[in-house]
Symmetry: C2
Subunit: 482 residues, 2 copies
């Protein structure tokens, strides 16, 4: 990057807020997605929306890419800087500006840590439900950019269900406000919801107004073990059919149970085919009744063991099995590829079985866990990126997994976004007309394609015939890899 541009950036944010050392550039060259990395030219730390506006205007003039970044927990390469990029670091915007107890809202800066917001609002008996796996480090800004999900999605929905308003800097530098504290608002197009989940490609959030709800009065946490995933699948279907909406309804397969036990020593039965973690919440009487019904349903479907937490610490223990799944799997092999193929809830047993068949076919290890209640699976390949031959099989396996998810009316991504990692699959899920709709929105908002360019899709004509593989996508930027 031209030193003249670096000087201009320093002039906007102050010299101490532009980092260009090789150590810093390496630190911001990757996110939580294996195999993707590329050096940014600089890391810029803005303090005000006006500074961000000036940076974006400069990017439009000088034609460089701006990659907004919170804590960098993306699992789709969403904040990996492509060549000719600067990283715009937002994680110091950490103020909770207001908790409005009359209107049940919180106004926050984008760098607030998700779990910190949980704690703060719970002091007032309020509740912010979205709880992505990375919540202890992820930022609200990143959650909004990715429309993050979590374990409470089945009953409470995902991030977009809790975003009431945004102050946002558009790619061309205009600062706009959309939404507000009104529960109902139908004035003009719903700009807010097209910005949510736009993966940092349509705007940079500088203030976020969130909806809060009263904290549920009580909850009960249960864990059940089954001989097979099929028994666990039937249990999930029966729970929903009895019109119980658990706050949490998660599963672990045998591979994941073994890894978790090996990691956390919780005393899990390592031969169990599946584990279900279930939490119901609400009024104590309702919670009591639902817990009883769920126990009966589990036993009817052949649960080999069933535990109900008797205290908060016991509940926390049970939840550890699920929360530790990713970390536990990640210890087994050097590279852990965590995906989020999602299907309508009723197809979970079929999809889980298919994933196992595909893993066998390609002779790779795929641990499987995830949000059984909302169809959001996390098939996780345990591999080694240095083993090019195995990596090729892993890629082929995921290609088949995504194809099958799409065939079942599912989606290539329930939580993680498209980013760099799933660009080539997006075109399988949507028609040309729908992809053009997306690209046209990007083109009118970001005519010079400067904001997180190259994520979600390329603004080139759709290539006919074979889609490039992830490996080929990476090879394109070979000279720039760390």
């Amino acid at each position: 990057m031209d030193v003249k541009i670096i000087r201009q950036l320093e002039e906007i944010v102050g010299r101490e807020n532009v980092l260009t050392s090789i150590e810093n550039r390496i630190a911001y060259s990757y996110d939580a997605t294996p195999t993707f990395a590329s050096l940014p030219d600089a890391i810029v730390i803005p303090q005000t929306p006006e500074q961000i506006s000036r940076i974006l205007k400069l990017a439009n003039e000088e034609n460089f890419i701006v990659v907004p970044r919170g804590s960098g927990t993306s699992l789709s390469g969403g904040v990996v800087p492509l060549p000719n990029s600067i990283v715009l670091l937002m994680n110091r915007w950490r103020k909770i500006l207001e908790i409005d107890r009359e209107n049940l809202t919180a106004l926050v800066e984008p760098g607030v840590i998700t779990a910190h917001l949980h704690q703060e609002v719970e002091k007032y008996g309020l509740f912010y439900p979205p709880d992505p796996g990375s919540m202890t480090i992820s930022t609200i800004g990143g959650n909004v950019a990715e429309n993050a999900g979590g374990l409470r999605g089945l009953k409470y929905g995902v991030t977009k269900n809790y975003v009431l308003g945004l102050e946002v800097v558009l790619p061309t530098g205009e600062i706009i406000n959309v939404g507000g504290k009104n529960v109902k608002d139908v004035a003009g197009y719903n700009l807010k919801d097209v910005l949510i989940g736009s993966e940092g490609t349509l705007g940079i959030f500088t203030k976020i107004l969130l909806k809060l709800i009263p904290k549920p009065q009580s909850y009960k946490t249960m864990i059940a073990f089954f001989n097979s995933l099929s028994d666990a699948g039937k249990t999930v279907a029966d729970i929903i059919a009895s019109h119980i909406m658990p706050a949490t309804l998660e599963f672990l397969d045998n591979t994941t149970i073994k890894c978790v036990e090996d990691y956390a020593h919780l005393g899990l039965p390592v031969n169990a085919g599946a584990l279900l973690l279930i939490e119901v919440d609400g009024h104590p009487a309702q919670v009591e009744e639902e817990a009883e019904k769920i126990e009966k349903i589990c036993i009817k479907n052949g649960a080999t063991d069933y535990k109900i937490a008797k205290s908060e610490s016991e509940a926390l223990n049970l939840k550890t099995a699920r929360r530790a799944a990713f970390a536990a799997l990640a210890r087994v092999k050097p590279t852990t590829i965590l995906e989020d193929a999602t299907v309508p809830r009723s197809f979970i047993p079929e999809m889980v079985e298919k994933i196992q068949q595909i893993a066998n076919k390609y002779q790779i290890i795929i641990g499987n866990f995830g949000h059984a209640g909302d169809g959001n699976l996390h098939p996780t390949a345990l591999t080694d990126e240095r083993d090019k031959e195995e990596m090729k099989r892993v890629e082929q396996a995921f290609e088949e997994i995504f194809d099958y998810a799409i065939k079942l009316g599912g989606t290539i991504t329930g939580e993680h976004g498209v980013g760099l990692a799933k660009k080539r699959f997006l075109e399988k899920q949507f028609s040309n007309a729908a992809i053009d709709f997306m690209k046209n929105i990007k083109r009118v908002l970001d005519p010079n394609n400067i904001l997180n360019a190259g994520k979600i899709f390329d603004l080139k004509p759709r290539c006919e015939g074979r889609l490039p593989t992830a490996r080929e996508e990476i090879e394109k930027y070979k000279g720039l890899w760390v």
Copy 2:
């Protein structure tokens, strides 16, 4: 309209499905919005998405406007056809195609009547919460196009919270599918939510996939009377502050109470300053506790009378007072202008008082009722459109009402949409950059501006200085009025 175009339309949908008699054109020249009307050139009744696609392609070639219409209950002139328009009548698309009890979804055609869907899903113990005032005649397609609200918005949200997927014909004729049965889906931009609430300007829905939830086990309906709206307002604030989320929390002012009593003879105390209708639902134990707490809060705030329904028919009776409000007010004078200025919940007492001051200032009658729980007011002017002098005062009063709502962080429309009636206010609520964002979305999707053109905004440069009045907007089309 050129007879050649009429012939081409007949060729697409069949001769019997193109109506051009003056009687038919008059019947489709207006909706539920007073003072707006204009003759369409024809009414076209399509049977398939492909026919709609061909009609839209023809509109692009021949440069006429297509106005999609369900039951025509718009309160913002949303389906009033501007000159050079055809009405595309969708209300015969009445099939409920699927109720999926495993995934808790309903797939419907756009012409399904809202209340009919309620009844059908409730047979399976399921629940579709959105319940706009016009639900006994409104269509789901219209509800989605307007993002309709209703009485249950506070606890359950509005239409957009229940739309999972859409089959939609875009203005240029492409048929696309967005969304699906997945509870979590973050693949690509959220096109679905920008189509919802686009007031028929961005696409025509041909299939709608809706989210259902388990029907609440029980409910209790209460009514409370107060000497003043201020006491009622304090009651609302105290209910929310105690972390109770009623399914319904509605108010009527004294003018409305008097009109309802005169109309429905329910035995309401006609001297009460305000009435609150409250319904809580959920688990019986929770409902019982919440009802008790609410009674105490009402009494603490000086309720002069308090009733709790002891049976379903008593509950229905209590709800009649609220459901009849619009019809009761409409009897008083020839013209009833029902608005939906909305403010953050905590500003309701201030906004209600301001509306009364404004009504006094302009010496007009404004009845006030609405959704106290979610800040969505329905100030309703009782007037006579033939009295030009009074109509001018009514317009001035609403101008001040909207200005004050915006000042409080509110919105010019909580439920009814912008349509024709509120175009001139939209620019007060949003910045130039936000309006340009909306217009750019319209321009890329509908380059010839053929789909419900002239609604929400004009695609002309924003006029500097004074905004045109509603009267001036109407006068523009004077030669064409019925």
